[in-house]
């Protein structure tokens, strides 16, 4: 009985949202910088990846017409608040700091955070292990916030990069000793010949939900409850009907939904 009620409610909301969104497409902002395997451009310039497929699936399940709009990562929140885009689906972690400015849907994935360093160099993912090291992180990410909080006081230097690729390149070039990022993004880097030759995972950092957030959610403007409900419904639907697992299987060995 309860299930039917929920379904009926979800349907009503979906219909309402559908009516509200029918005329105009929801502009979903993704980071213009490649972040494989979540979002990157293929040779023809089309966006592909786990997250791009998931945007399609979630929007379809939420009965939204979505349009993907690439936006520079460092300006993606201002673009949302200024109305250039209506939602952010760019592997953005749900954090208290961001909640001051924008709102989030439920999470759609959550992966551990790891430190990768040069082979043969003694270190681990703790402040003691990274004492005196040069650490590279992508700017405006939860990883930057984490590194600044835990490792910056003991590290020799913290260097920030516009894209994860630049940080990876500088690790290969030996300009930084270690980088911290999402385990999935770094696994993709370690699978490349360059990554294989130079570097290895040094460990998983101790969790701190206040900094690392509660997983990745859809970023939305505050007060847009209809759109938020629609996305939550879409996420719940793809999880329930197996679409999530199907897309996931195309990229990862196990589900990255997390706990």
């Amino acid at each position: 009985m309860k299930k039917t009620m929920t379904a009926a409610l979800a349907l009503t909301i979906g219909l309402m949202a559908g009516v509200a969104q029918a005329q105009t497409a929801v502009k979903v902002g993704i980071a213009a910088e490649a972040y494989p395997p979540f979002a990157s451009q293929d040779a023809s310039g089309a966006w592909v990846g786990w997250e791009v497929e998931m945007i399609g699936a979630i929007c379809a399940a939420a009965e939204l017409t979505c349009e993907i709009v690439p936006v520079a990562w460092d300006g993606i929140i201002p673009a949302l608040t200024a109305g250039q885009i209506d939602a952010i689906m760019a592997s953005m972690s749900i954090t208290e700091e961001r909640m001051k400015t924008i709102d989030f849907s439920d999470k759609y994935y959550n992966t551990p955070t790891v430190v990768v360093g040069a082979k043969g160099m003694e270190m681990d993912a703790t402040p003691e292990g990274l004492t005196g090291k040069i650490i590279g992180v992508q700017v405006s990410t939860v990883h930057q916030a984490y590194v600044e909080k835990y490792f910056a006081p003991v590290a020799a230097e913290v260097k920030t990069y516009q894209t994860q690729d630049e940080a990876n390149q500088d690790l290969v070039a030996g300009r930084v000793d270690a980088i911290q990022a999402d385990s999935i993004a770094l696994d993709a880097f370690l699978a490349t010949p360059e990554g294989q030759a130079c570097c290895e995972v040094k460990g998983t950092v101790a969790d701190d939900p206040a900094v690392l957030g509660l997983g990745v959610g859809v970023g939305l403007r505050q007060g847009e409850e209809d759109l938020k409900a629609a996305f939550n419904k879409g996420i719940a639907a793809v999880l329930a009907d197996g679409t999530y697992d199907k897309i996931n299987a195309g990229y990862f060995a196990s589900s990255i939904y997390g706990n």
Binding site: D74, I77, V172, G174, R175
Partner: protein
């Protein structure tokens, strides 16, 4: 006399514009968000300092390179003139951003492949970003100013050089006493403008992790999601720097004797 000068200067349009400027400044100061300033002030001071020394050193070393580059093109034998011309053409014909990236991500990532470089005492410097930034800015300035100096050397009347040679003056003395000072003086206003352009090129080094003032402003924007205020302050900083450069070159121009040209 002072009072009269003051009255002359205080024209109605100047008073109006001055007041308008004051109102805009006051509006910005009171109506916009500046609460982030105390937290980022030390970082901004560091950034401004880094911008200044990058600019000063690149202009200094760039000029040292530009003089021989100009001389080689204006009066050198072909085996010096051709490489100099090729250098200037390549530097002036490619974007500075590309040069910076080629040096940092190209040349800079070749070094660690050689263990002897990685183990040398130079490595702690070579692994940082600023040497590549300084090198790229210096080469760029040298390329543009080499071309300017070529014209400057050619503009000094040949009769003077011939006269000096006829009087038995050694070649290096002709250069240091007659040729270079006059060439330099002729292009001082151009060099002032080129230095302002060079200052406006410095934000490009932020792309290779050199944290100068532009990088600090972006950092504030990224941390706080405040957009206009850091950018406005950044514009003000660059305006002040440009003003200082223009003032400095005016002082240098005013100090020496005026160039007298026949005709």
């Amino acid at each position: 006399m002072r009072g009269a000068e003051m009255r002359d200067w205080l024209q109605p349009h100047r008073i109006f514009l001055g007041l308008l400027g004051l109102v805009i400044v006051l509006w910005c100061a009171t109506q916009m968000r500046w609460d982030w300033l105390p937290k980022y002030a030390p970082l901004m001071a560091e950034g401004i300092w880094r911008t200044i020394w990058l600019l000063v050193l690149s202009v200094f070393f760039g000029m040292l390179l530009a003089i021989p580059l100009g001389l080689a093109q204006a009066a050198g034998p072909w085996y010096l003139a051709t490489p100099a011309r090729v250098f200037c053409t390549v530097i002036r014909g490619t974007p500075l951003l590309l040069q910076i990236w080629l040096l940092y991500y190209g040349l800079g990532s070749l070094f660690p492949q050689y263990p002897w470089i990685r183990e040398s005492d130079l490595w702690p410097i070579l692994r940082q970003a600023w040497p590549y930034a300084l090198l790229a800015l210096t080469l760029s300035y040298a390329g543009y100013e080499g071309e300017v100096m070529r014209g400057a050397f050619k503009s000094v009347p040949r009769g003077q050089l011939e006269a000096a040679r006829a009087m038995g003056m050694p070649r290096h003395k002709i250069l240091s006493r007659i040729w270079l000072p006059q060439a330099f003086r002729a292009v001082l206003p151009t060099l002032g403008g080129e230095t302002v352009l060079q200052m406006k090129a410095t934000p490009l080094v932020a792309t290779i992790t050199v944290v100068e003032i532009y990088a600090v402003a972006s950092r504030v924007r990224q941390d706080t999601f405040i957009i206009y205020e850091p950018l406005l302050l950044l514009a003000l900083v660059y305006l002040c720097l440009a003003g200082a450069i223009v003032f400095l070159f005016r002082q240098i121009e005013a100090r020496g004797p005026q160039v007298r040209r026949p005709g």
